[in-house]
Symmetry: C2
Subunit: 169 residues, 2 copies
């Protein structure tokens, strides 16, 4: 991905998608969340060439999303465990999945997320925990954060509201 300015390199969404936005990466993580742990697990579930899979697993380990743990040395055998960093991504992936289900699956979902304890279907939403209100376009603004330059702070003296409804002109 080509970048327009240094500021983009600091955009946490762009950074996140560089680590997990790539198709295969995500499929590997998905299968890991569903319980795949060994090289053979992933290969069988994804039907992917061994060298491709080895590359993806290495990349995920390099990014700290999977941890390789050898449990036998002769012959070498390892498990791939989801790290806390990867586990922390599941809610976001489920929220993205809920959006995809709403807008891209007219026939309805094949799979439904349910509460693991009660088995009841979940109604996923991104909320502000301070107010418990769902986040919506028009209700969120961006303010300069601690790492912002003086210039950015000046430019954002008043917070920039995201997704305000456009006035027709």
């Amino acid at each position: 991905m080509q970048r327009a300015s240094f500021a983009d390199m600091e955009c946490p969404i762009a950074l996140a998608l560089e680590e997990v936005g790539e198709g295969w990466t995500l499929l590997v993580l998905r299968e890991a969340f569903k319980g795949a742990r060994t090289f053979a697990d992933f290969q069988q579930r994804l039907g992917v060439a061994p060298n491709t899979l080895a590359q993806r697993l290495r990349r995920l380990c390099d990014h700290g999303l999977l941890q390789r743990r050898r449990y036998q040395s002769n012959p070498p055998r390892a498990n791939y465990d989801l790290t806390e960093k990867a586990r922390d991504l599941l809610p976001v992936l489920l929220a993205l999945g809920a959006w995809g289900t709403r807008w891209l699956l007219p026939a309805g979902p094949l799979l439904v997320p349910v509460d693991a304890e009660t088995g009841r279907a979940m109604d996923l939403a991104v909320v502000d925990r301070r107010t418990s209100r769902p986040v919506r376009a028009g209700s969120v603004a961006l303010k300069a954060g601690p790492a912002a330059s003086r210039r950015l702070k000046t430019a954002l003296r008043s917070p920039l509201v995201l997704g305000t409804k456009e006035k027709k002109r």
Copy 2:
């Protein structure tokens, strides 16, 4: 992205990332959320070649994420408005940004999401609105949905818990 099976084509996360996971697409959406509306707005903010930009805008319109609205015909001038489908994506992008900030920006955030009304910093989380509890790996399971095949329903007779902690072996 190469796909392993038909089921992957029905994965709403994979489908979603195909529409919005690509770098430039996301930067265009980001600028639209920040208020860019005209071709010139996007070009100036992204510093991108006109033909590349035109292509991205067309793609976003094709996917129903932006709506082109001509407001002058001679010379032709148009605005690009975020659709409801795109506006519904903002919470997910902010949740992804919060993850990226936690794990990928050690120096802290340049920008902080705040409540547009009160100006207070938001504490973003993905929750189950039925219980108000944050969604976490280990607390969510997948159940067969209405569009699931009989085979999938049989395979998922008991819900599959996502991201259960692996037992060391």
